[in-house]
Amino acid sequence: MAAEVRERVIGLETEYGISCTLDGRRSVPTEDVARRMFRDVIAWGRSSNVFLENGARLYLDVGSHPEYATPECADALEAVVHERAGDHIVADLAARTEASLAEDGLRGRVRVFRNNTDFSGNSYGSHENYLVERRGPLQPLVDALLPFLVTRQVFAGAGKVLRTARGAVYVLSQRAEHIWEGVSSATTRSRPVVNSRDEPHADIDRFRRLHVIVGDSNMSDLATWLRVATCELVIRLVEEGGDLDVPALDSPTRAIREVSRDLSGRGAVRLRDGRDVPALEVQAHYLAAVERFLAERHSDDAAAAHVVTEWRRVLEALDRDPRALERELDWVAKLRLIEALQERDGLALDDARVAMLDLAYHEVAPVTGLHPRLVRSGRMMSLVDEAAVDRAMAEPPRTRAALRGRFLRAARAAGRDVTVDWVHLKLNGEVQRTVMCKDPLIWEDERVDRLIEEMVATPV
């Protein structure tokens, strides 16, 4: 019998890398570029941490990273669209910054990258947030997810040339070498796969926010979509008590590195029972469990069925020959591009031009960026069209983000001073009024309607 499909919101957070160079040489310090990127933002938002009318949050993160958190999205594809909307917004800030620097006589090209590593051992992330119901401790959910999260890089890895003591090697994942724990509340000191910090940004009695920080920043729509959509299904299985024989890992941090360093997908993870299982087999194990779960409980869920169809197709293609996915997966595409460049120019894998290509693949620039060029010329596939991305730059999804977006738009139109965060909508003035939106799934609320009416009716 088909059960009711649980609803969930999903959000993606991206930390961007930035640079300003003239003839390749740094011409403006990164901190100054970041500050200037947010000068306009501070001018209208009075803060370097603002919410936009599409419901998203834009801010200057620790370490001078511009960061964009998508609004609460209703599914994985919507999250893909909104992540790309964030790219466009940040790219636009970069273009304005470049012009503003030039006006002050500071020449240079400002570039923004959605990748995860620089060349000095620093890492910054692409974080996934999944709203889950609060039922007992978090640990069982995390335990069930860890082997999945450690091995999904076989399709979700963004690819990277890793410099090691024994020379350069191409690896699946940008993040693998920067993960030091399975789960913890640490972030930058000892980065875990799952961050256990308990900040639901919602009713704390009902919800948790599962904060997955192990992921690579994917340029490929399919990779981002599949990464999020499959994770969501595994979470659903666990939440609903579906059958899953968890292949518990001996050491998640060792496993994630070993998987990353084996491009065949056969990099083995050591299980607690002593067995060594290839990464692709671990993924196939999760796929089979999800397929059984859906067949038993959600046989009429066409969207979920589509996710497993794509998951199976990708795993089977990886098993046969990853090159068949050169138009669809980042790590395969990037490897093929690097090989083509190496072949023409006779470059070693540790050549600076190869490193530059590794980075340039992630440049966020809708017109001039390499990945958008590859999509426009039909060399790489895309799941979303530009019109949808343009809409997402202004319009929130039909989740709590819609309330936030309406409130902010009304405030701007009325010239009123307001303060918002993920939960609160606050009208400032002589009489302050605040509405708390504690359920991220609710996108219509009479209290917000009244607050907006009051804002329009009363003078500033």
Binding site: D75, Y124, L441
Partner: protein, 79 residues
């Protein structure tokens, strides 16, 4: 609680319509340089199709002074 309609946003059906993602449809673009046909739709082709044209695109995004750029690209660690 407000019930959400199935057609949430643009993607409620969960169906992924790949632009230029149709497998088995990998013919070359007529002029060999652009995958876009007259109507503006993208025609899928292999990643390495017309590899010289591809490498020109790659050259356009690499700095002439790649060595310097790579050395100077230092970010502080994030989360």
């Amino acid at each position: 609680m407000v019930a959400r309609t199935p057609e949430v946003g643009m993607s409620g059906s969960g169906q992924v319509q790949g632009r230029g993602s149709e497998r088995g449809e990998e013919q070359d673009a007529p002029d060999g340089s652009s995958g876009a046909d007259a109507a503006g739709t993208v025609v899928a082709r292999p990643l390495l199709d017309d590899v010289d044209g591809l490498l020109d695109e790659i050259d356009a995004v690499l700095e002439d002074n790649a060595e310097e750029f790579v050395r100077g690209y230092v970010q502080k660690g994030g989360q």
